[in-house]
């Protein structure tokens, strides 16, 4: 008893904490998905159920929000994914591995991968808008109203791309490194060039790992709001979607509507709908990445 008591505490207490955490995470996620569904389908407390004009209005608002979010996520992916994969291939295969420059580059990339998103918002403002945007306006001539030198969809996407790039590089490099060295050496021994090794051996073998990293990173950027505050998300806009225009965004809308006064209940259905869609799609990204990762694990077990 004397000796067993701390042991008993250890096993029970940690178990209680872990299972409580498990239960709360599960109920949080399921709660967000299930409890909000009735609201999603029928309006707040039945006050505006059925196919009222309010519901139609909500539907059209929602599609605008989704369009903005989809466009900025897509533009971001177009900019970040190829650059991220190329950088990772360079770091893993081409960069002289012992050189100081490579080591510093890798430290920087790893460090940047964990930098808070506000910083990237600030960098987007300071670089894309104040330097590139203002420069473009100046080149275009002496029009009084700024076209590019102000927050807009393109700058928001590029800022998000800047934010996701280091994370992509880190995860892709990890996937490339997990390809067995023997495969690389065998290909080299058969006379393959470096490019052939990368194209025929590394990318085919590592693509599942690369893809799971990409899906996870894009999913995280999808729900990210803070950089958009700096670079172009607005609460409402009358203009249509364009590269140089501010835009409405799903995740940003949760912030906008969530911080409105609770005495302002008319926006609640839209808010809850946004939350639901945001959580559902984020978890979809997460689940897709998990499925890919389980494929890697199985492949590794097969190889053993």
């Amino acid at each position: 008893m004397n000796r067993g008591f701390p042991d008993w505490i250890f096993r029970r207490l940690t178990g209680v904490v872990a299972w409580a955490l498990f239960a709360s995470v599960l109920s949080l996620v399921l709660g967000l998905l299930l409890v909000v569904v009735p609201v999603f389908l029928s309006g707040w407390d039945g006050q505006e159920g059925g196919s009222s004009p309010a519901l139609d209005h909500r539907g059209s608002r929602l599609s605008l929000l989704l369009l903005g979010t989809a466009t900025r996520t897509l533009l971001m992916s177009l900019a970040a994914i190829p650059a991220g994969i190329l950088t990772a291939v360079y770091l893993a295969e081409y960069a002289p591995s012992g050189a100081r420059a490579t080591r510093i580059l890798r430290w920087l990339v790893h460090g940047l991968a964990g930098v808070p998103s506000v910083i990237f918002g600030l960098l987007g403002l300071g670089f894309w808008i104040s330097v590139v945007g203002v420069g473009l306006d100046r080149m275009a001539g002496d029009s009084a109203a700024p076209v590019w030198g102000r927050p807009g969809l393109l700058w928001a996407s590029l800022t998000l791309a800047m934010m996701t790039l280091p994370v992509l590089v880190v995860s892709t490099e990890q996937a490339l490194r997990s390809v067995p060295q023997e495969l690389r050496l065998a290909a080299m021994a058969l006379g393959a060039t470096r490019l052939q090794v990368v194209m025929r051996i590394l990318l085919p073998n590592a693509w599942v790992g690369i893809a799971s990293g990409v899906v996870l990173t894009v999913g995280r950027a999808f729900g990210e709001v803070v950089p958009l505050l700096f670079t172009g998300a607005v609460a409402e806009t009358q203009r249509s979607l364009a590269l140089d225009e501010p835009f409405v965004d799903l995740a940003h809308q949760v912030f906008v509507l969530g911080t409105r006064s609770p005495e302002h209940p008319s926006s609640r259905p839209l808010l809850l709908t946004c939350v639901w869609v945001l959580v559902f799609l984020s978890l979809l990204f997460h689940a897709a990445a998990a499925v890919l990762r389980s494929r890697i694990l199985r492949a590794e077990q097969d190889r053993l």
């Binding site: 599960l26 960098l123 987007g124």
Partner: protein, 259 residues
């Protein structure tokens, strides 16, 4: 590369003279103090949840439960922080006010607790990795020598994983330091330098996100914001770097190749 953006930062910083007015220096101190308060509360909340949970999952739980526990807890990382902030604002803040009778609905305590809960999944996952990296045979050998599971964990597994756990705490801290959305929505956002944890606070990242709108390009305030951003960047890179250094050293001690 994101590195391209660095010169812009330096150019902006060049505009920052040494003649900062006293009032804005005071402002910087209050903001820093706000950040310290929120990060400390967050760590106080997150560590006692994340570490026991990780101990259980990695050391006590049978494997068939472990395969369910870890992915479910990591599912939380997939929920966007705006959603967590929304929940903190609509559920946690009223609940805390009802329980403790705080004078303000939105205050530093709510922000700290919310951020703490938000960093639990990341911290749990990293601590669990650190504990699982200790060879299971060590634990079994200790049991074979007559140790109870608790003694085996405390004397064998914990010391071997301690630096990795330290790295996990540093990473959690860096995330709490940079957390913007949650703090912005539930902290009340007033720059107050007081001691009370139940006062509204404003942290450095929130200041950046709220203040840039009304700030003219090239003004003193503008370069001040970039200075704060730069300090935040430096701090979080330092924390990341330290954590990575620890992890690389650990991997090398185990004879693995670090990335």
């Amino acid at each position: 590369m994101a590195l391209e953006a660095m010169p812009a930062l330096f150019v902006r910083l060049g505009g920052l003279g040494t003649s900062t007015p006293i009032s804005s220096r005071w402002n910087l101190i209050s903001l820093g103090w706000g950040s310290v308060k929120v990060v400390m509360i967050a760590l106080t909340v997150a560590i006692p949840i994340a570490i026991p949970a990780a101990l259980y999952v990695s050391q006590v739980a049978p494997v068939r439960w472990r395969v369910w526990l870890k992915p479910t807890l990591e599912l939380m990382q997939g929920v966007p922080t705006v959603v967590l902030a929304f929940l903190a604002l609509w559920v946690l803040a009223p609940a805390l006010q009802r329980a403790f009778g705080a004078p303000f609905l939105l205050n530093g305590m709510v922000a700290g607790v919310a951020v703490g809960l938000a960093i639990v999944p990341v911290m749990f996952s990293l601590v669990e990795d650190a504990l699982s990296a200790v060879p299971r045979e060590w634990f079994r050998s200790a049991l074979a020598l007559g140790a109870t599971p608790w003694e085996a964990v405390r004397r064998v597994v914990w010391p071997a994983a301690a630096s990795g756990i330290g790295a996990a705490v540093l990473l959690g801290m860096s995330q709490a330091l940079g957390e913007t959305m949650i703090v912005m929505m539930v902290s009340g956002n007033a720059t107050l330098p007081g001691w009370s944890l139940w006062d509204p606070v404003r942290t450095v990242p929130v200041e950046l996100a709220l203040e840039w709108v009304g700030t003219a390009r090239g003004s003193q305030r503008y370069s001040e914001l970039f200075l704060m951003g730069f300090v935040l960047l430096g701090l979080s890179m330092a924390l990341q770097g330290l954590a990575r250094m620890i992890r690389i050293r650990n991997a090398r001690q185990r004879g693995e190749v670090a990335s």
